[in-house]
């Protein structure tokens, strides 16, 4: 912020997630012009739904990243929660109960991670690596022994149905984003997460229950992973053993695009949501333009680096202007 009260255009850049917003705007512009049938209602609806899975995952990941940690197990947690949910549906349990159990599985995964990291003192990288393998293994065992697909209409509605023209999954993501964003940006709890990430010792001295914050963020991440997994299973109407593999890296990418730093203390739900949208639109555009699918990884990698660079550059630029003012 500058010291005089005049508004400069560069003040906009200080808003969280500003850079990804501009990048997104450029991408949408580009796609509208160069990608055939990008602006059709079906395609837009499709892309929005496609972005939901990484978005919800990314929002949970944002909490963990801001607090200075990392959760590599969310991809496997997605698969596990989905497996439990579909298993329950097939076993005849009412849909709400099955959904609840699926979400509870995600939360439980978060609890295990949190206990390993906060309770037993494991490094979060290693602990979530271990749970990643463990949960993936459980999913593989489950899918090997029972068929995990479901055409239950209620279940299919989650990712396939719409309310008032808006896909239900998108509404879910919107609610998650609003709730998570408000908590993070406007409540003491949320500020505590930033504090723990920026300076755990100072936060502790200021009365923040650092360990409790670190514990909760992993549970949040697990819960989001569970929700995302259930939605993905609904879209695919089945759970396959490799489901969710690699999603953790995309979620981290979305968060990084949105301004989250891997050393903690920075990031925002809005930024991550826009980042997830950006990645989904990028993939959609490339496939609409018939670009060889393999190029997607290359382009995504380069873009991630550019986005991080831009974000750092923009922050330095804004800080310089603030100093000069």
């Amino acid at each position: 912020m500058n010291n005089n009260n005049k508004f400069h255009l560069s003040d906009l850049l200080n808003v969280e997630g500003a850079t990804v917003f501009f990048a997104l705007a450029v991408l949408v512009l580009f796609s509208s012009v160069f990608a055939p049938s990008f602006l059709t209602p079906e395609n837009i609806s499709n892309v929005l739904v496609q972005s939901v899975f990484v978005m919800i995952l990314g929002i949970g990941m944002t909490y963990v990243l801001i607090s200075g940690g990392i959760d590599l197990s969310v991809g496997s947690a997605m698969g596990l929660a989905a497996a439990v949910c579909v298993y329950c549906i097939n076993a005849g349990l009412p849909l709400p109960l099955a959904l609840l159990l699926g979400l509870a599985t995600g939360a439980a995964a978060g609890f295990v991670n949190a206990y390993l990291i906060v309770g037993l003192g494991f490094a979060d990288f290693i602990a979530t690596l271990g749970t990643l393998s463990l949960m993936r293994g459980i999913v593989e065992v489950m899918t090997a022994s029972t068929r995990l697909n479901s055409k239950d209409p209620g279940f299919m509605f989650l990712a396939g149905g719409s309310l008032g023209g808006v896909p239900f999954a998108v509404l879910v993501a919107l609610v998650v984003a609003i709730v998570a964003g408000v908590i993070l940006a406007r409540t003491t709890m949320g500020r505590a997460v930033y504090g723990v990430g920026l300076n755990p010792k100072s936060s502790f001295l200021a009365g923040v229950l650092v360990n409790r914050v670190r514990f909760s963020v992993f549970v949040v991440s697990g819960l989001c992973a569970g929700l995302s997994g259930i939605l993905l299973a609904s879209r695919l109407s089945s759970v396959h053993p490799a489901m969710g593999t690699g999603y953790e890296l995309t979620a981290i990418a979305a968060a990084a695009l949105g301004g989250a730093s891997l050393s903690g203390g920075r990031g925002s739900v809005l930024g991550t949501a826009l980042g997830a949208l950006f990645l989904a639109i990028l993939q959609n555009t490339l496939s609409l333009m018939s670009v060889n699918a393999f190029w997607f990884q290359i382009i995504t990698g380069v873009i991630i680096v550019l986005a991080v660079l831009m974000d750092g550059g923009v922050r330095r630029f804004v800080a310089q202007r603030a100093r000069a003012a």
Partner: protein, 339 residues
């Protein structure tokens, strides 16, 4: 400050030696392995057969060599997620150059050079462009993998093998039942251990990893040190990649995928601390060996491969726990020693 006395009181030398050993990186895992092997061999005596043990060594090399590079990077305070993709690409470079008729030594060197170049690029992006190492190597992992896919058009490289390559890839035995890669790994281990422990390079890596700012004030250039670490990691991954291309006789575009997590696990199991400054190559050896032994045990005991992930995940957590417990025990035991 402790004063070194002229006549240190006599103590039980063996107990003290054991306690100080327990504190070394990877010691806990090593003890785990020493206990684990006889127990498993009780259920599956074939495990201790010469052929199987040699097979474990031959197999372990392909995790061990990239783990050496990962250990260097972790010691200097970074992380390298791109090793899996580098393994794939370097193998692809070697294979395709062989396919167009280049002599084997040149093709191998080109593959290794490609890995070193990627490592260099990683280092530049991280030290000059100040991108966090996790993000940079994550992006590089995707980019390099994508390049391999585009280059191969999704179709594996084939028909490039020649007799010497069978030897280098470890498909022909060299001494007893051991293959050439084992000796390559041994040579690398000895060279790198010497460099890390006895030269200024090793000290600079550790200093940069523990406290980059303090290192800089001491006259070390952390940027240059980290750059060297990433080049080393890329090179070692590439050495693995060109050997792996020989072993597998085809280069599938997904070759090497997933290796980064295994090497990180092996390095950490061997005592490397992700916060930097700590790590050892012998520990890396123990870590790589443990992972391979477990996979071998799962195969021999005919455990369904679906259980493999569960077991590996559990073992990683268990092994790290043991290592930390051993370290903690060693610290408290040695703390009580009179000077």
């Amino acid at each position: 400050m402790t004063v070194v006395s002229q006549n240190p009181p006599s103590t039980n030398g063996i107990a003290e030696a054991l306690q100080s050993f327990a504190g070394r990186p990877g010691a806990g895992i090593f003890l785990f392995l020493v206990v684990f092997l006889p127990v498993i061999s009780f259920f599956a005596p074939q495990m201790l057969q010469e052929a199987n043990l040699a097979g474990i060594l031959n197999q372990m090399v392909f995790i061990f060599i990239p783990t050496l590079g990962m250990t260097i990077v972790i010691i200097s305070g970074g992380i390298d997620l791109s090793v899996g993709s580098v393994i794939g690409l370097s193998g692809g470079v070697a294979a395709s150059l062989l396919g167009v008729g280049l002599p084997l030594p040149l093709a191998l060197m080109a593959g290794i050079a490609a890995g070193a170049a990627i490592g260099f690029l990683n280092g530049i992006v991280i030290t000059r462009l100040k991108v966090p190492d996790f993000v940079a190597t994550l992006a590089m992992m995707g980019v390099v993998r994508g390049v391999l896919y585009v280059w191969t058009s999704g179709v594996p490289f084939r028909n490039y093998m020649d007799p010497a390559y069978y030897l280098i890839g470890g498909l022909r035995m060299v001494a007893g039942k051991l293959t050439l890669p084992v000796f390559v790994a041994l040579a690398l281990l000895l060279i790198l251990t010497f460099v890390l422990k006895r030269t200024w390079i090793g000290a600079h890596f550790r200093a940069t990893g523990s406290n980059a700012e303090a290192a800089r004030l001491s006259g070390i250039r952390p940027a240059r040190v980290k750059l060297m670490a990433y080049v080393a990691s890329g090179t070692l991954a590439a050495i693995t990649g060109v050997m792996l291309a020989g072993r597998l006789t085809t280069v599938h575009p997904a070759m090497g995928a997933g290796y980064e997590l295994e090497t990180i696990a092996a390095a950490v199991m061997g005592g490397a601390a992700l916060s930097g400054g700590r790590g050892s190559f012998w520990g890396a050896l123990v870590g790589a060996l443990t992972l391979t032994v477990i996979q071998n045990a799962i195969n021999i005991l005919n455990i369904e491969s679906t259980w493999e992930n569960i077991i590996i995940g559990g073992i990683i957590l268990f092994a790290v726990l043991i290592d930390r417990a051993a370290m903690a025990l060693s610290r408290t035991a040695l703390r009580g020693r009179p000077h």
